[in-house]
Assembly symmetry: D2
Homo-oligomer: 398 residues x 4
């Protein structure tokens, strides 16, 4: 009888899920790579969040993600599940349930775990991805507990170093999470000596530059660029995603874009190791110019370029979900063109370029039109710069 009940309920779930219309984003591939969209920071009932791993997979489908990493806290099995009720739940279970549920959608699930020792002192939280056994990492982190007396800092640093060493032994890709989280960084965001040690020992490969609790982290983004760490974003979701993302306002969940050679966990791993990641969050793009420039080229189409005796016209369309905001950059004061262009999803705009006096023929024949993309960044406070060269056709030259 019980088996039948399960079948019935699964069917009904499938129906219930469809009650709301998915909010899938449209983000193009770039030359040479497939663009994979995902979330590197997710919790479930198996640590301190409020939903079952299956819901995390349903949500990923709703958002059109290619992958998620299940990163439950190693050191907070669900308070009650593990502690009050004596349940014997392995720390790899949430990953296993999610991976199983994800098959029907074709979503990739990364085996992950979050090492959250030292909440209020500096080493911080670290996500380990592509691991094989969360229990071993937890055990390694806990091995030295009790050896440091009242020296909390030493104790937590040792736990992190040991835990991450085990994770790396398993082949993990490790990220430092939300460096600006106020609980750890109450007055300012700092790179402590422990982080240099982690970096030197090869124990971190990436850094979370956007987290839904604390938002965009300008210092973390700068460190990613400076130290060549892979950029990641995470929702760090504890509640159902619908309570975090205001879909009614058209918001998208923050996501990491990974430029992979193939759509597989192997492809994903090769790409993060090679630092081919970009963040898309709150309508902004953060990443290296070598990736975001081709991404922008893939997002916009330029058409209808026409010259006449006095002007040039051009149409720009945004084919993607990512907004594109252009602001005129210095360098071409001898011609006149649009000072501000904003293109949301599917929007297009035609604009005109002409000489300073629009009532007279061209008097400059070769020039650049320059823009800053004010919501795409190559470093903290550094917008991407675009430059298009224009050459007036011979027949319109005096």
């Amino acid at each position: 009888m019980k088996r039948l009940l399960v079948v019935v309920i699964l069917t009904l779930f499938a129906f219930g899920l469809n009650a709301t219309v998915p909010h899938r984003s449209s983000i193009p591939d770039i030359p040479g790579y497939i663009t994979l969209k995902g979330d590197f920071h997710i919790h479930t009932n198996f640590s301190d969040a409020q939903v079952w791993p299956v819901t995390r997979v349903d949500e990923a489908d709703f958002d059109g993600l290619d992958f998620i990493s299940i990163t439950d806290h190693l050191d907070t099995h669900h308070q009650h599940m593990a502690k009050d009720w004596g349940a014997n739940v392995n720390r790899n279970t949430s990953y296993e349930i999610a991976a199983q549920a994800a098959k029907k959608y074709g979503i990739m699930v990364i085996h992950g775990a979050e090492l959250t020792r030292g909440t209020r002192i500096f080493p911080g939280h670290f996500n380990t991805h592509f691991i094989s056994d969360a229990e071993a990492i937890c055990a390694a982190a806990e091995a030295s507990d009790g050896k440091f007396g009242s020296d909390e800092v030493k104790k937590e640093e040792t736990a992190i170093l040991s835990g991450l060493a085990e994770a790396r032994k398993q082949g993990a890709f490790v990220t430092w999470n939300h460096p600006d989280w106020e609980q750890q960084a109450p007055n300012e965001t700092k790179w402590w000596p422990i982080h240099t040690e982690l970096l030197n020992k090869g124990l971190i490969q990436g850094i979370e530059i956007y987290n839904s609790f604390s938002g965009f982290d300008p210092e973390a983004f700068h460190w990613a660029m400076e130290k060549d760490l892979a950029i990641t974003t995470g929702t760090d979701a504890h509640k159902p995603m619908f309570q975090w993302v205001d879909y009614e306002k058209g918001e998208y969940r923050p996501m990491t874009l990974v430029f992979a050679k193939e759509r597989s966990l192997k492809g994903l791993r090769e790409a993060v190791d090679a630092r081919r990641t970009v963040a898309f969050a709150d309508g902004c793009i953060y990443g290296k110019e070598e990736f975001i420039k081709p991404l922008l080229d893939a997002c916009i189409s330029i058409s209808g370029v026409k010259f006449s005796e006095k002007k040039m016209t051009v149409t720009v369309k945004n084919l993607s979900t990512i907004p594109v905001c252009l602001s005129k950059a210095p360098g071409s004061e001898m011609v006149v063109y649009s000072r501000l262009v904003r293109l949301n999803e599917g929007e297009e705009i035609s604009f005109t370029v002409n000489g300073i006096d629009s009532r007279k023929p061209w008097n400059v024949y070769d020039f650049d039109i320059n823009f800053y993309v004010t919501n795409w960044f190559t470093d903290t406070d550094t917008p991407l710069k675009l430059s298009y060269h224009v050459s007036v056709p011979a027949k319109y030259r005096k």
Copy 2:
């Protein structure tokens, strides 16, 4: 260290919750009673649903409910939690967690449980509310298992009878859930002899006439009216509520309106015992005329009544969230007025009444204007009828 983490996370949850704007409905009180809005059928992680009890409370606040009843399946403790992992979780726990979490919102939580024996054979599912110990009900239901050999029907009927007897001993208010659920009623919705027995023995007091899986149940509504059972509705939610209700389209969660003498669990109980309940679901109202007529009067305001030599004008406004659809009813063919009036939340309409020939003075002085309220029902396929008497003032009579 761990205690601190909990504090921190609770704070952040409170923030996350506010990311989306609540969808609270506006439904007035009626003379003599407070209108309490609630959900009589809800599941959590503690049986086979996907969310923690705390989320159910957050959702109730989001929807502006006054009460919820946590009605986890007695016979499906979470499959894994209870079975695979050997957790020792009492069946009253989900209620206890929800009741604790509800304090900050002032939401009332009813201690409930769903007795779901005999899924595919007829006794059906029953919700027990206002109980004191779910474990005892489960034990009573299971007591005779094994005594009936292959007679599944006998076995399940006995289990239901015993379980509900124990529930009633605890003082429960019991409802028959989703009588038209296809798993139990694959070809038609039937009232079986067992239901007569349950009724005669005082083991059921209410019936679920709307369930989010199966929608409105016309037979159940008719039985409620015929046999004087309390009407209830339930979401029967297993997934996060946002996956069930399309808030983006302005939908409201189905709810039971209870007309209580005071806003307390005691008031709630007195009201359901007295059958003072009405269903609001999919934009329709279902209930006894003695309750829905005053509810309608409280929902609409009538103003601007003006007479002239040839016509009367009047303005009707819907002050509530419940739509009001009026269609002209027979009986006053000697006057002419609006054939169709639809009023959604906050809308108002002015309409005119005049004699058959609108270009001539009144030739009838006393008459009724009659409407059917086509989305408010007093029985299956029986819309509420409204009748307003109009008397033309003496000075406009020839």
Copy 3:
């Protein structure tokens, strides 16, 4: 200088339009025909509405329509424009402005006009489409004014007969609009002798069965089926469309679906003459079985049909914007399957068919599964009926 201003403003309009995301519906073609979506009833500033014809075209693009008919009232040039200010505006102007503006979108604009004589007496309002000169129709309608003394009915009937005769001379396709509009039909919707006369004289070819003011008209739909009139729908929009259609709730504007041999005005005309039209409004479909049956087949995909010893499973997906609600119809009580299936856009559901006792092997081998499509109608109160024949494969027969 002024010319420049116009250019500038047009550019900015194009930008402004894109500020909101279009609500285009997805409705498939049917075998042999292209499905064209459109609106047969639209007003502009040139009669008594509040927007310029260009906005009507922008709105049609927003809604993804293939065609619109501009049907300004012949007898209410904009009150002020024509009367108070003595503007000399030809009655064909609104069509001309819209047709010009529609070129960039590839939207077809029908040259139309509404003959609205006799507002409060019975002949009613009539839309003339595919006309060549609205001025001549207006003149014909007004020719006999003054000849009938106080006999308003005779006067208006004559005006309608003369006006429509002129329209037909121009080759018009004529529809009777909103027969249930309360201004004309205050107590009931009637087919008067004048309508029989119009029909016999070949002066009407279609009938509006849905109008945004008065909603669905059950009598008109029945007359369309009974008398073989082409079904049309119209928004009858006077305000900006955004004030009529609640896009935020996911509503679609009512539309007429025309099954044409080619996407051209000629194709459109051939199709309406051949009565190949269907109404889509408020989530319902109204039309002849010969068109809505293939439309339903094109809207849904059936896949994953699998048999086993005891059951058959099948997956149904709705590929279109049109909801599909199925309710089990009588005729196959010896098998058990889903009593209720609702599929909104993009949703899919898997369901199971098995014998009466689901725990036993098949005992019936050839049967139909029957459904009513409860929101698709072939006549008033007559849902479309679906019947699928199932034959259990030989190897599962005892």
Copy 4:
């Protein structure tokens, strides 16, 4: 007959209007003043926009505005209405129609006009508000046309000077519109000598710092602060408002907040003359500290202040529609508190202040907690600064 039609249509409009739910903002009064919300820049069919003045009033009601100024271009009567069709429409007509329509809503309509001479050369566009005769202003501006040969600049400057002189003679309040509009300011936003002349002659009193075409204008805001000009915003709407503002995403129309002594046109005028105006656009506030500081105080409620031996907790709630984003400002490094607080409408957050080492008792007793309000500005790039003094109660001092 025609009169009846008008009545009928007005009734139906009233119904149609209610089809969509209004997006009214909640913005509080400040001590001593009523906060009036409005739009100082609106076009209609009477110049080059696409909607009738009545729709502008419906939209203002939808948005919950207290006032609008109808500012049709003086020099572009609707191209066709005035020119092609020879209509004899007075330039004051759009104001008159709007003022009439606004009575039922209690919305105030300012008699305005936009002087748009010299579109592509520098004097720019100017709105005149509280005028008595738009025709006279137009005539004054055109009086010298033809006297300056090919000197376009001289011609346009003279026209502006003469037109504004006439406007001021009528008692106008004059604003310089969108100084950064690319058509006039293709490469940079400049204050030209003509603007100094206008200022010295008392011909301008305000400046538009936000316009929906060009967005926020940082130079204009700085000039407003520097030269004590009244801040205004305008939608500059030409299309229906729903095509400009993405209500589905929860956007609000940009608005000018005017702090008036009474809710009347007189009160409004006194307030703008006294420069008591603030801009609310794109979720930001721009204005003098003397107004936005009390506005912020009225928007947020602070409650639940509690001290203990080691910390202070406080709850902040945003009672208004205006978002409040706080970022920790320097000056109190000896205590620890929230680095980032974001409060959208209706949201509240509790946060904690304690000493540097949260595990130890207070060691500082009197301090300020400082924030920047990062979306409220007192000058270009200058966020409002908040400073709350905290004094630890004696009993918690060591």
